[in-house]
């Protein structure tokens, strides 16, 4: 006889989420995610393999925009079109590195924000841990970043720049950066399901936001630009990678600690909001 005693019991009620309590929400959420780790990988693999499937150049598209950007920068720098100020490493390499980091952050943020809307009927018609959609969307950004490192390293070799050994610590800086993007992405993806302005606005804000961090210009030495870069939680992380890449010494530790704490806080808040509000939002999606 088939026994029903060992079956897992699930209860759906209006207060299902509230009854979990704040701490257990995280536990349940990450347990679900761990159980679905294979799905995360499959979704990531799906996105990457589908992206260039109906195209002739295929994966070349992952590096081509980068190569075009380099050429433009190299041209502008050689003609001294705009005065750049002193950069710790040659300007082309400097700008290219920053741009890669910025693209990692912004494509993580855009990818996670649009992940639920892109999934379409998957969100509204199937019950499965939907945090996997957001997490796996990061994979695409990381994958692109890894590919972009290739033209970046070519440029570094070209200029004969040898980064100090401390540069190996850069991934430690990238972790809070990605988590910060994810945390924001968790909240934005939910909001984007009912208010589509979010993804539109995000593209605009990111274009503008690029100029609030020392990406195309060296870290500021004058107020109020220093203030802007201290408040912007992305800047300290970016500057830290620049420091590690050039001198190997992080000059301003306090903003870095602040930004890291902010990133982790954002990540925990975002994932929590995502999990508890999802069922309420899905019904309106």
């Amino acid at each position: 006889m088939h026994s029903t005693n060992k079956l897992k019991e699930t209860i759906y009620a209006p207060d299902s989420m509230r009854r979990l309590g704040i701490v257990r929400v995280w536990l349940v959420m990450w347990r679900e995610l761990w159980a679905a780790r294979e799905l995360v990988f499959r979704l990531f693999y799906r996105d990457v393999s589908v992206r260039y499937r109906q195209s002739i150049l295929g994966y070349v598209w992952a590096v081509l925009p980068q190569i075009v950007t380099i050429s433009i920068f190299a041209f502008l720098a050689s003609r001294r079109v705009f005065p750049m100020g002193e950069t710790p490493i040659p300007y082309v390499a400097f700008a290219l590195w920053n741009l890669s980091i910025w693209q990692l952050f912004s494509s993580c943020l855009i990818g996670s924000t649009t992940s639920l809307v892109r999934a379409g009927s998957l969100v509204t018609k199937i019950n499965f841990p939907k945090q996997t959609l957001v997490i796996s969307s990061i994979g695409q950004a990381l994958f692109d970043f890894a590919i972009r490192l290739f033209p970046v390293s070519v440029v570094f070799v070209w200029y004969g720049i040898v980064p100090p050994w401390q540069a190996l610590a850069i991934p430690l800086i990238l972790i809070p950066m990605v988590l910060m993007a994810l945390g924001m992405g968790f909240i934005f993806s939910i909001a984007n399901l009912i208010i589509r302005d979010i993804s539109n606005a995000l593209g605009m804000v990111l274009t503008f936001g690029m100029f609030l961090a020392p990406i195309l210009y060296p870290p500021p030495i004058r107020e109020p630009f220093i203030l802007v870069n201290t408040i912007n939680p992305f800047s300290p992380l970016l500057i830290a990678t620049q420091d590690l890449l050039s001198s190997g010494e992080i000059l301003n530790v306090e903003p870095l600690i602040g930004a890291t704490l902010f990133a982790f806080g954002m990540f925990f808040l975002g994932s929590y909001v995502f999990y508890v509000t999802l069922p309420r939002i899905v019904e309106r999606a």
Binding site: T4, L122, V276, R280, I281
Partner: protein
């Protein structure tokens, strides 16, 4: 030990009619949930309505509950709540075991990927590991009958192929509870037959919930039925035929009657008579039915025939009575003619039928006039089968046969 797998207690769900209010309420709800405050779930706000109201039922394993109702009755909403995609606003749903649901065909299929890749991704979405899918892959493909197309991108699949693949995955994941939303309608007859067998096969250890508009389907596989109308359950129980009857009375047959044809004939009046009662639309199974017609046919037509068709609730013809079939045609007098047709025992299954009357030149020639849906009849009876016609048979036992053998042999 209770073997109830699904318990639904007084569940209600509200939806919002306006997109704007929905956005505002959505943000409010999200804030309430984030702050762990009890929201105002049980009262209607502006522009809101109850899509599901006070629904309760239980499904044990080995049972199949059919959910029927007109469009917009809340069937899919109910299924989404059972599957945990959305939460109820009132009440409580208790689910025991693994749920396999097919709410939308091909949800989760990526058009650019091949059938094979989609099986793995969809399987992973439904919670299967790669090993499990490897083991079941061949069964899935052979059940879906897609051996030749499994490496083709699914964007080139036909809608039937989509359903077959989706259903095959859902069934093969061996769920404790299987939820099917009107998905079988797309497949061809052969696949539908396979589905029935598959559902019967897994029903022993599974509770099945099925939404369908096909009543033969419902009466064939369901052990119980719930009729929903505008979110309110009007019948819930194990008497499937009663439920189907209830459903038919809800979805009132289209009241529009049409007149078509070349116009060379006019039907002035149509009257029904059953067992001595005039102009009654109710016939007790297997009662008699007489149809009285008052017609004028254009003098240019010398001979004509009359056909009467009975249509089921889904407007499928279920029975036909044509003069050409039983003794010929009428000779046109050129004047107004009264014609009566007697049907001795109308052996239609209890239910609601609409009547079409048509006049044709000669035997089956030009259609002179056709009154579509001119009358609605209601056949009543204690018994209700699942086929539209219930033939009247004489049932004999073995004892009877041995004593009356000689008489039986006398039959031609």
């Amino acid at each position: 030990m209770s073997d109830t797998l699904i318990t639904v207690e007084n569940v209600s769900k509200k939806f919002c009619k306006s997109l704007k209010s929905s956005m505002v309420n959505g943000v409010k709800d999200a804030i309430y949930e984030t702050l762990q405050l009890p929201g105002k779930n049980d009262a209607l706000r502006k522009d809101e309505f109850w899509a599901i109201q006070d629904v309760s039922f239980e499904v044990k394993h080995g049972e199949c509950l059919g959910i029927i109702g007109p469009n917009g009755a809340g069937k899919s909403t109910l299924l989404k709540m059972l599957n945990g995609i959305i939460l109820p606003d009132k009440g409580k749903i208790t689910i025991r075991g693994k749920v396999g649901a097919l709410i939308e065909v091909g949800a989760g299929f990526h058009p650019m990927l091949t059938g094979r890749e989609n099986v793995y991704i969809n399987g992973a979405i439904l919670g299967l590991s790669k090993k499990e899918i490897d083991r079941k892959f061949d069964d899935i493909v052979s059940f879906a009958e897609l051996e030749d197309f499994i490496d083709m991108p699914v964007k080139h699949y036909s809608s039937g192929m989509y359903v077959r693949l989706g259903f095959a995955i859902a069934v093969q994941m061996e769920p404790d509870i299987l939820i099917l939303d009107e998905v079988l309608a797309v497949g061809d007859i052969r696949f539908r037959a396979n589905c029935f067998n598959a559902i019967h096969g897994i029903m022993k250890k599974t509770a099945v919930i099925l939404v369908s508009h096909s009543m033969p389907q419902i009466s064939r596989i369901c052990s119980g039925v719930m009729v929903l109308n505008k979110g309110i359950p009007c019948y819930c129980g194990s008497d499937v035929t009663r439920g189907i009857d209830e459903y038919h009375s809800l979805s009132a047959t289209p009241s529009i009657s049409l007149i078509a044809g070349s116009g060379k004939a006019t039907i002035h009046d149509i009257q029904l008579e059953s067992d001595g009662r005039y102009d009654s639309d109710t016939i007790a199974y297997p009662g008699s039915l007489s149809i009285l017609l008052d017609v004028t046919v254009d003098p240019s037509v010398r001979f004509f025939g009359i056909g009467i068709a009975f249509l089921g609730p889904d407007l499928q013809p279920v029975a036909h009575c044509h003069s050409a079939f039983h003794g010929g045609q009428f000779t046109n007098t050129g004047r107004r003619m009264r014609i009566v047709v007697n049907i001795n025992s109308l052996s239609l299954n209890p239910g609601i039928y609409s009547v079409n009357v048509g006049i044709q030149a000669d035997k089956l020639g030009e259609i002179l006039i056709r009154h579509i849906n001119c009358k609605t009849i209601r056949v009543t009876g204690d018994f209700c089968g699942f086929a539209p016609v219930q033939l009247q048979g004489a049932w004999l036992t073995e004892d009877y046969l041995s004593t009356h053998r000689r008489q039986l042999a006398a039959y031609p």
